[in-house]
Amino acid sequence: MILFEDIKVGDAIPSITKPAISHLQLALYAGAGADHNPIHLDEEAAKAGGLPGIIAHGMLPLGFLGQLLTLWVPQRQVRSLSARFVGMAFPGDVITCSGKIAGKREEAGDKLVDVEIAAQNQKGENLQLGKATVALT
């Protein structure tokens, strides 16, 4: 169990690297995520929309960032999760999610830790930059 008193600002949380995003995964996410925008499924539609080709749903790397947190602490301790989508993910991209402790605070009896999180592609480019807050004991 991760204890509030053991956490230091600047500490890294365990990162995760996901298998390469496949077209199959985008099709599964289109179904389960209920997002059928053709820019995630159809090369021609993506190009017609002015994109270089099919792009991943932004919610896919954010889903990976959610997993980063739930692998670190039980999900119930995750109080918030947010990200800006600063770069696009494409089929074939290998996404690594990482996090660093940005702050510790006690609020209304809760011991809260703020984590800066990021999803990067295999070139080290930031695709998503965000924040999460988790409650520890």
């Binding site: 995520g33 820019i39 017609a48 932004g58 889903g63 999760l81 947010s82």
Partner: protein, 146 residues
Amino acid sequence: MIDKSIIGKEYAPFTVEVEKRWVRSFAEAIGDASPIYFDESIARAAGYRSLPAPPTFPFAMIMDANQSFMILDQLGIDKRRAMHGEQSFVYHADLCAGDVVTGRQRVVDVYDKKNGALEFLVTETRLENQRGEHVCDLRTTVVVRN
């Protein structure tokens, strides 16, 4: 250009049921094999009523209720030119399979950058479960490339 008078607009409430199969297929789609999303006995042992929904699942509920594309359609925006730009979740209570969730979405901001080449539509959605518990707040920014 998106008419800024849409700021403050609230849409009719929507209701979505969280099905076990949906929780499992969502976890599978994001490549999360944690047994808590698949095996109800493990979820119950962890104190959940049923399979918990993964952290980003609430956005799938919004999409399932057509809340995002509905606004684009109403505004006459081609969704091939729309991209998700920012997303946040604030969690207040467990969200589990079997829950029947009611959501209310409203527009909180509209702005543009690069002389209108990029437009931003910001909405907030509040989710409550069948017991009237406040489950989650979402804030969504959609970017439209003109």
